[in-house]
């Protein structure tokens, strides 16, 4: 099962992204692209004339993709949640290194913003992991998935993660790191053709990673987990379509004053009660 999930991860992620684009379109009462659109994009990009800024940059994109896959597989193989989160950080940091390595203003700006976004989001992820421990007695995903559902006891933690989700998925209002209209995609900007493929697909994997985290709130009851993930998916899309981008420093402020406080309160409640 874990093997299957891990191997199919990019395909699942692609579908998820396709569904997301379709849903976004429906929310704006558009018809929207076909569900398979992300794969079309992928194949088309592979067919472009390859060009790189320098080899190091292009390679780091590929490594970023592999690292994102590894982070996901740590989750799927029932590994330690904190380790998975650190692998997630690792994969993002590889992209950041790639972003810094080219002499391009947008790319470096994007990398910097990505770093700042990490600074705001990573503590929340870690606190989420700790709250899982408090309510299920383990950091291991395999054990969390056999423990009773923790959504009722850690509602605040779920809320915190929900607030952080747009940041993790680089969606409005917390998409300053990518900001297509402003800094033209940030770190992604210098990738093209096949090399952009890897970064593009890594985004799907990230998406899968994040929603798997949400799914874990369901514990042993996969129905609850699935429902929560779908709910979170909708909420994120709704926020994406109905909010404007906030500046990156406001993003940090908001995430710390809302999500971090909520996650912290959740843990304190868990410890006290």
């Amino acid at each position: 099962m874990s093997w299957l999930l891990t191997l199919l991860a990019p395909i699942l992620g692609g579908f998820l992204y396709g569904i997301e684009r379709k849903l976004t379109a429906r929310m704006q009462s558009r018809k929207g692209p076909p569900i398979l659109q992300p794969f079309f994009d992928l194949f088309k990009l592979a067919d472009k004339r390859p060009m790189v800024v320098h080899s190091y940059h292009a390679f780091m994109g590929i490594i970023h993709f592999v690292a994102a896959w590894v982070a996901l597989s740590v989750l799927f193989f029932g590994g330690d949640l904190l380790v998975a989160i650190f692998f997630h950080l690792l994969s993002t940091s590889l992209l950041i290194v790639a972003g810094y390595s080219v002499k391009s203003t947008y790319s470096r700006l994007g990398a910097t913003r990505e770093l700042i976004a990490i600074a705001a989001l990573e503590p929340i992820l870690i606190l989420t992991a700790i709250s899982f421990y408090l309510h299920t007695g383990s950091f291991e995903v395999s054990k969390i998935l056999t423990a009773p559902t923790s959504i009722f006891t850690s509602v605040l933690g779920f809320l915190a993660l929900l607030i952080a989700l747009p940041g993790l998925l680089k969606k409005s209002p917390f998409d300053a790191a990518e900001a297509h209209q402003e800094i033209v995609g940030g770190v992604e900007i210098e990738f093209s053709g096949f090399f952009y493929d890897t970064v593009y697909a890594a985004k799907w994997l990230d998406m899968l990673f994040v929603f798997t985290l949400v799914f874990l709130f369901g514990g042993s009851s996969f129905v609850v987990g699935g429902a929560l993930a779908v709910f979170a998916f909708f909420v994120v899309l709704l926020a994406d379509n109905s909010t404007a981008r906030v500046r990156y420093c406001d993003m940090v402020r908001l995430l710390y004053s809302l999500a971090f406080v909520l996650a912290g309160a959740n843990i304190i409640l868990g410890v006290v009660l």
Binding site: P50, M51, V52, V53, H54, S55, Y56, H57, A58, F59, M60, I63, V66, A67, V70, G79, D80, L82, V83, F86, L89, L90, S93, L94, I96, V97, G99, Y100, S101, V102, K103, S104, T105, Y106, S107, R108, L109, A111, T112, L115, I116, I118, E122, I126, L127, A129, I130, Y133, L134, G137, S138, F139, E140, E190, F260, G264, I267, I268, V271, V272
Partner: protein
């Protein structure tokens, strides 16, 4: 065993004398001393069976005289430089010493070499010796005056001896002597460049560390007056009522040596010293006295209010120094701030006193020592060979000096991400910390979570400057400096493979000794198991491949047959460039943190006196 210890204790001093008398062969003597020390410390660790004890009570009087001479010297410095603080503190210390003589104490073992000492020996002698070897090359570029070179090397060599003694003495009066000697070494070496700025910084370091000396003497006074003993092990076992007050004073000395928050200026100022000094004294060995002291008293600290406050001071320093470093562009300053920050984490973990956190602390001590020594040595190369001090001017260095840059990048990665030691420490702290319920620990976990991302932010922003690459080939790199950093780099990379058996064996053994109970962790080649989590071997391999191998490969491989294009710049052909970002977290965060920490220092003493 005895012979090895004799080498560790005395060889550095003889070598220092040798270096001073035969200046021409200073480099060679230092080199051989360094190799001997490395060998001796590893052999000592391997041949260790049971604690080695030695009573040398006839040395008490000469040591007391040395103490007084030293204080007299400090007082003269204070007098000649019109620095009232130094003068005053020297007199206070002397007064304390005389007070101490009024109390009698029982006989005991002055020197106790236990597992913790041997652990410290490994760090001091292996990392320290590598820095010595590096210093031999470095000092030639620093000054052309042979006698000055010899003095420099002699102080550094003798310093290793002092450190070796410091981690093995059990007699707190003697401990004070060695503590002051490290302060002296710090003072001399910070002022080595002999300009106004370094003199000033040296004096700051002197008086701040003297406060630590006073605290240590106060601890000794408490012990001697109440318990009639000067032996730390005895105090810790039969402390009773006064134990907490003793640990409070002892911890204050440690926190000051570890440059925790209101006392951080001395370590920042210490960056005026030549780089090997920063590496050996101010990052990898001397400041490790702080966590070492706390580890020594950590069984007594566990669960006390004093322990909680110490941890809080560590946490504040951890978070605030990391955040303050974000505004610096001087490479050595960044390293200094990050050292203070990680020392804070070490102190935090040590003072929690749970088995897992002690293990994490030991991991941090060793791996931070290795990584920081390497980074400082690289900083020295940057300064001497490429005349770079600021991280803004390193752009393109990756093409000019690929090995040096890779080492720097490796150094930063190794203190933030898996599969390197510091990551494991953090992981264990999170999992171990979450295991203990209690509001204080939870609060500390928040500090750790935010502080470690602040550090990650700092490291990657710095790494980002170093990877900036314009894809040009250039002339050959100068390798003459790189031997020692390369060895440490290899060690970091190689060791990451054996980290899980090492944690399950080496670190577990040592930490179990410190907390005198078995640490609930098991590690073999296939992974590390904690009570609530597990890390598999394939995680380590994957992280190693992704961080250790892949980027190096990426730097080597050149894609053939693929067009190179310019970066996007909105269709303009202007040369664009973006610098790193700097920001002041909040205007008066430094002031607030300093005030709060200073209040907490007083609180430690108060709580100690109230016996909480």
């Amino acid at each position: 065993m005895q012979e090895l210890l004799l080498i560790l204790f005395l060889l550095p001093f003889f070598a220092a004398v040798g270096v001073l008398s035969v200046k021409r062969y200073a480099g060679i003597i230092t080199f051989f001393t360094a190799t001997f020390l490395m060998a001796a410390s590893s052999l000592a660790y391997l041949s260790f069976e049971s604690s080695f004890t030695l009573s040398l009570s006839y040395l008490s009087v000469p040591f007391l005289v040395t103490d007084l001479v030293l204080l007299g010297y400090f007082a003269t410095i204070g007098y000649t430089s019109r620095n009232k603080k130094i003068l005053f503190l020297s007199i206070v210390q002397a007064a304390f010493l005389f007070l101490l003589e009024n109390f009698s104490s029982r006989e005991g073992y002055d020197i106790v070499v236990d597992k913790l000492s041997l652990f410290m020996f490994l760090l001091i002698n292996i990392v320290g010796s590598l820095i010595l070897i590096y210093a031999v090359r470095y000092i030639k570029d620093e000054t052309s005056d042979i006698s000055k070179q010899a003095v420099f090397l002699a102080i550094l060599t003798a310093f290793l001896g002092v450190m070796n003694l410091l981690v093995s003495v059990d007699n707190i009066e003697w401990l004070f002597l060695f503590f002051e000697m490290t302060t002296l070494a710090s003072f001399w070496l910070i002022g080595f460049r002999d300009d106004a700025e370094s003199q000033e910084n040296a004096r700051i370091a002197l008086w701040m560390n003297q406060i630590g000396g006073v605290a240590l003497l106060a601890a000794a006074l408490v012990a001697k007056a109440e318990l009639h003993t000067v032996y730390i092990s005895e105090i810790l076992t039969h402390g009773g009522e006064t134990l907490i007050l003793f640990t409070a004073f002892f911890a204050v000395a440690a926190l000051i040596k570890g440059a925790q928050m209101p006392f951080s200026p001395w370590l920042l100022g210490a960056m005026a010293a030549p780089t090997p000094v920063s590496a050996i004294l101010h990052s990898s060995t001397m400041v490790k006295i702080a966590p070492y002291f706390i580890l020594k008293i950590s069984p007594a600290l566990a669960g006390t209010a004093v322990g909680g406050v110490i941890a809080l001071i560590g946490a504040i320093s951890f978070l605030v120094s990391a955040a303050l470093a974000l505004r610096e562009e001087n490479f050595k300053k960044i390293l200094a701030y990050s050292t203070i920050s990680l020392l804070g984490l070490m102190i935090l973990t040590a003072s929690l006193g749970t088995p897992l956190s002690v293990l994490a602390c030991m991991l941090l001590i060793l791996f931070h020592g290795v990584s920081k020594a390497m980074l400082f040595m690289c900083a020295g190369v940057l300064e001497k060979k490429y005349h770079i001090k600021s991280i803004e001017s390193v752009e393109g260095l990756i093409n000019k000096a690929p090995i040096l840059t890779s080492l720097i990048i490796l150094g930063f990665l190794s203190i933030s991400l898996p599969p390197f030691g510091v990551f494991f420490a953090k992981w264990i702290v999170y999992e171990g910390g979450a295991g203990i319920s209690g509001l204080i620990v939870t609060l500390l976990l928040f500090f750790i979570a935010v502080g470690s991302v602040a550090l990650t932010l700092l490291y990657f922003k710095t790494v980002g400057r170093f990877v900036a690459n314009d894809d040009t080939k250039s002339s050959k790199e100068d390798y003459s400096y790189l031997a020692s950093p390369l060895i440490l780099g290899m060690f970091l990379l190689g060791f990451s493979f054996f980290i899980s058996p090492a944690i399950g064996g080496f670190f577990k053994e040592n930490a179990s000794f410190v907390v005198s109970s078995v640490v609930p962790i098991s590690g073999d080649f296939w992974g590390i198991t904690l009570p609530f989590g597990r890390l598999e071997f394939w995680h380590i391999v994957a992280a190693f491949l992704l961080l250790g191998v892949a980027p190096l490969l990426a730097a080597k491989i050149r894609l053939k047959g693929i067009d190179k294009v310019k970066p996007y710049s909105c269709g303009e052909k202007i040369e664009t460039s973006a610098y790193s970002f700097y920001f002041d977290p909040a205007k008066n965060i430094e002031k607030v943190a300093n005030t709060v920490s200073a209040a907490l220092f007083l609180l430690i003493i108060l709580l100690g006196a109230l016996n909480l």
